[in-house]
């Protein structure tokens, strides 16, 4: 006996790629600053965010943290769920390599503790959970490329089995000056005009910034 699972919806999305920030597939910020850190800090200032720890994060965490901030802004009522019912599932291709390299440079002189703590990809999840007090299940996967089918299956399973009520999931990739993050806010029992959380719709949003 299995109850039919309730529909799961994408209730918001946020993309940061190629100098542009998109919320729900609309461009909301653009800045041609070629340096990744400078671009992310410019976006942080533009949206008047107040979180001094942002400056201390590595670029991968800055990217994921910023995207989550904009993903949830005006789209999420934190009080709706228990902290342990909100989870984060992310993936990327380059793990924490961007910071691994920077940390390695410092190790020649004096290894930097502040960089070392970011030499794991799941620290970005930690930063997101610290900011929003999310205690739910979290995981970080390393894939060659974004796999929408996997995300649908994995996150739907967490929600259908009542492990989570809501999940922030998606792709957070950054290496040198190349970056792309596509995050989804996923919730049970949303309704139109929200978008069903399916492989097809995930891919459509993932690819939307290209065209």
């Amino acid at each position: 006996m299995k109850l039919l699972p309730e529909d799961i919806y994408i209730t918001a999305s946020c993309i940061i790629s190629h100098h542009v920030v998109y919320k729900n597939e609309h461009a909301i910020f653009e800045n041609k600053e070629p340096d990744v850190t400078a671009f992310l800090v410019a976006a942080y200032h533009h949206f008047q965010l107040q979180y001094p720890k942002f400056y201390k994060m590595d670029n991968l965490s800055k990217l994921g943290w910023l995207a989550t901030e904009l993903l949830l802004k005006d789209s999420f009522h934190a009080g709706k769920y228990q902290p342990e019912a909100i989870g984060v599932v992310l993936a990327n291709a380059s793990s924490s390599l961007d910071t691994d390299i920077k940390y390695y440079e410092t190790a020649k002189d004096i290894a930097s503790p502040a960089l070392f703590v970011y030499t794991l990809p799941n620290i970005v999840i930690g930063e997101i959970c610290i900011r929003h007090h999310f205690n739910g299940e979290n995981a970080f996967f390393v894939f060659d490329e974004f796999d929408a089918g996997f995300m649908e299956q994995y996150v739907s399973n967490l929600i259908n089995n009542n492990i989570l009520q809501s999940c922030i999931c998606g792709w957070v990739e950054l290496l040198d000056d190349q970056y792309k993050t596509v995050l989804f806010l996923v919730e049970k029992g949303g309704s139109a005009p929200n978008i069903l959380f399916t492989k097809k719709n995930i891919n459509k949003i993932y690819q939307s910034e290209n065209g």
Binding site: P52, D109, I110, P113
Partner: protein, 83 residues
């Protein structure tokens, strides 16, 4: 002490903070500048890089890093010892 404040801001990426915002006796951790344990370790790196002072016991940290003044006093005491 103003040089030290600038160095602290640079080492810890406190971009919204200006040297004049940090009072000489203001607590640096928790209720003061809100620094955490990783910042403490970075301050140890700062002492080593800028002043060639090695603080090998992390337990000493809270005493030395209570404020900019205590840090400056520690640096003065240990530099003169090195000369």
């Amino acid at each position: 002490m103003s040089d030290l404040k600038t160095q602290i801001i640079a080492q810890l990426n406190l971009q919204d903070v200006k040297p004049e915002d940090i009072a000489d006796d203001q607590p640096l951790f928790v209720e003061g500048l809100g620094l955490d344990s990783i910042d403490a370790l970075e301050l140890i790196v700062l002492l080593q890089q800028q002043y060639k002072i090695k603080l090998s016991n992390a337990e000493e940290g809270p005493k030395v890093f209570r404020s900019v003044r205590t840090m400056a006093e520690y640096i003065t005491a240990h530099q003169s010892r090195n000369v």
